[in-house]
Symmetry: C2
Subunit: 463 residues, 2 copies
């Protein structure tokens, strides 16, 4: 790696304002929202165009310097960390919304656009971009595509993948590729745009995305449903789904999660609740949204729900959601350390998985807060620990992964594998499946300069 | 290619009942539902397990024999034709439905299962598999996955891709790969299952599919909406969608299509109609399905619809759909020859595309019947011709493709590229995008034995 040559060349080519090398300027790019630690890059380049991205990749290839693409650094699996040094290629300046087409029901955006900004812009046109990662105010749409981000509404609307029609990417070898299409359907050639979605910045650098939109639902109804305990809530949840009701969210919070919120914002959640579900429906009319909410709520009441509080206006709705959106940070503040997992089990296995998590927490004497998009089986399991319990925390996380696979689940629902889970992937995927993926990676990136060391376990460290 | 050695080896390994070599026995495998002609394979192997598939691929590799996977031969782009001879690997005997899980809302099927059989089995459990290619009574689910099949309901429910959770495939190099997952969400590693969907039997042989199901809608309403002409129908259709209404189907039929049906089954369609839309809605209750139908119908009536006939029962519904389902065959019978295309344009370009098709038909003095899933911009353009007009038909098809790309569309919505469109793909995709796909193909199939010559244009024949 010849970083000084790369720095000089890039400064000449792009101008010094785009190329950061001062340690203070690099520091904000040394971490992401994971617990994976600090990795100071050698250089940060803030690209302003696909042509800039091409230059960075060409210079990096010439000088054998790793390049780590980065949106806004909100990732939870260490995907944007420069673990081998080199260049962090930030897309934060490429944040324009290039087009909204009402007629074709699509939007074209640059990767650095904040997801919430995209959402509010299309909603003004009567359109809807459903995927809603809880970090939506601080994450970028390019990052969402790279991670195939989910969110509460994925239960009804599906994840980011379902909304990506096309992507423009720059390959590590320098070519700009227009992949996918502008139409709703299309089967011309291999689904390369789909392969880029969720590839965590290892196959190409996303420089533009074309997103499918849907009509904006006119009415939303939200309720907070309280339960005496987690087991009650998890059975109610599967009963709602089995009744053929598909609300737009069924968010679950266990008592550790509730306690953390109560400690920070007293009075926000009912005192008698040992677990909560945030139930939300949407529809073209208020009557229909409410009718569906009522149906789901009555199934909950038949399954040991204590109470159902329906938001009467947007302010009350926001009061329900706000603690959920910041829950990850609230938990981080509530303990010296936290490891946040993101598993998924088949729908019918939700109660069993929750029982196993409780048993693992008891076994290792740890506080484990579980919450998440339980309706689709996606649970965020947060192990809270300190220096003295770090070993137990590691073992607990490992057992959570093993239990997930035992119940035929997957180790990541929406956060990705990145750095923090790369050693766990062998629990889920057979060696030949990993080899095939490594071969694909090599096809896209023959010199392994793009986000090296992510997704796949370090060689020789197989469990 | 050493076909006699391959034949001997496969007969030894699999038994003679699975290996066909008699010309009469081979004949049914020489054609598919395309107009691409007759290609007699040297051998047909009817696999009964993934292990059989492995054997075939191993022997084929050893003897440099091409292998063409085949479901039930209903494909419309020549994808299942043995254009270089060799082995047709039929999956028709692997037709079991291995599992339906009501709790996890999924089904696990072998590739040869007929799509309609899958549908009726899951519907008995109160579940729904939405993708409905019109060939559903004679196509296989493995073929649907290989082609990423669509159908009328894709407008509301999306195409096959949206329902594939996991696939088991045998790679040309012989490994059995379990790709994807059993959960609704999941982002562990690259989306290899998604890459197999729509890869037209060129990357691996599908031996099992795991499919997501949804709750069965309890009520369906169907109406036949007649218009004086195609232009009226196409504007009504975009108006319905712009109003934020998403029926489950908006099928369009032009007057050539209507005439062919009328010639075969008089009295089926209103005499004064110059174009028709089959409008269908579904919902959890009859009231809601009807309410949505009414809304869409009134938008049509505001846009020059002549009449709206609502089916009063399932028999009447079937009377509306039956001619649509067999329309491709009816048109084939109505002319000496037919070329059927499958283009998609962005939603707002539907009226313009229909005008261009009419102009092309007039220019070349050809009968061109257009129908299809116009709600999502997917139009089946059928050029009817005879020996004397074959040249004009070729030129007309070429102009249809050029117009599609000019309107930012795609040359295939659901039939695939296969053999019949491989020379057109260069109109849509840049050379570097094709090179990347060829490199991917090579990663999966280094000896190019699996379905060679499909999707990509023959080298040196670039337009």
């Amino acid at each position: 790696m010849n970083i000084s040559a790369a720095r000089k060349k890039l400064t000449d080519l792009l101008g010094s304002s785009k190329v950061l090398a001062d340690p203070d300027a690099l520091e904000p790019y040394a971490r992401d929202a994971s617990h994976a630690g600090r990795y100071l890059p050698d250089l940060v380049v803030r690209a302003e165009s696909a042509a800039d991205v091409q230059q960075v990749l060409a210079v990096a290839t010439e000088n054998s310097v790793p390049v780590v693409p980065r949106g806004l650094g909100s990732g939870k699996s260490g995907g944007a960390l420069a673990i081998h040094g080199g260049i962090v290629l930030s897309l934060e300046k490429m944040n324009r919304l290039r087009e909204i087409s009402r007629d074709d029901m699509l939007a074209v955006a640059e990767p650095g656009l904040i997801t919430a900004d995209l959402m509010s812009a299309v909603e003004k046109e009567g359109l809807f971009y459903p995927p809603d990662p809880n970090s939506l105010n601080m994450c970028s749409i390019g990052g969402n595509v790279a991670a195939n981000a989910g969110g509460p509404r994925a239960l009804k609307y599906g994840v980011t993948r379902a909304y990506v029609l096309g992507v423009e990417v720059v390959l590590p070898t320098g070519e700009i590729m227009k992949l996918g299409r502008r139409t709703i359907k299309g089967v011309t050639g291999y689904d390369l745009a789909g392969l880029i979605v969720g590839s965590e910045g290892t196959l190409g650098v996303i420089t533009e995305v074309t997103l499918r939109l849907v009509p904006l639902p006119r009415a939303v109804e939200t309720a907070l449903v309280s339960f005496p305990d987690l087991d009650g809530a998890s059975h109610a949840l599967t009963a709602v789904l089995s009744a053929g009701i598909v609300p737009r969210t069924l968010e679950l919070l266990d008592h550790h999660a509730l306690d953390a919120v109560r400690a920070k914002t007293p009075g926000r959640f009912p005192e008698n609740a040992g677990a909560l579900i945030i139930l939300e429906t949407d529809a073209p009319s208020k009557e229909r949204a409410f009718e569906e909410l009522e149906k789901a709520a009555s199934v909950c009441l038949e399954h040991r729900a204590l109470d159902v509080l329906v938001a009467q206006d947007d302010a009350q709705r926001e009061k329900i959601w706000e603690p959920r959106r910041v829950l990850s940070m609230t938990l981080t503040e509530s303990a010296p350390k936290k490891m946040s997992e993101d598993i998924v089990v088949p729908r019918s296995k939700i109660p069993e998985m929750l029982r196993r998590v409780t048993a693992i927490a008891e076994k290792y004497k740890l506080r484990v807060a579980t919450y998440g998009h339980a309706g689709d089986g996606n649970l965020h399991v947060n192990v809270l620990y300190d220096e003295s319990s770090a070993d137990r925390a590691d073992r607990a996380i490992h057992e959570v992964m093993v239990a997930t696979i035992d119940l035929r689940g997957t180790i990541s629902g929406e956060h990705g594998i990145g750095l923090t889970k790369r050693e766990f992937i062998t629990l889920e995927q057979a060696p030949e499946v990993l080899e095939l993926q490594r071969a694909l990676k090599k096809t896209f990136d023959p010199h392994n300069i793009l986000n090296p060391g992510k997704i796949f376990p370090a060689r020789g460290v197989r469990e």
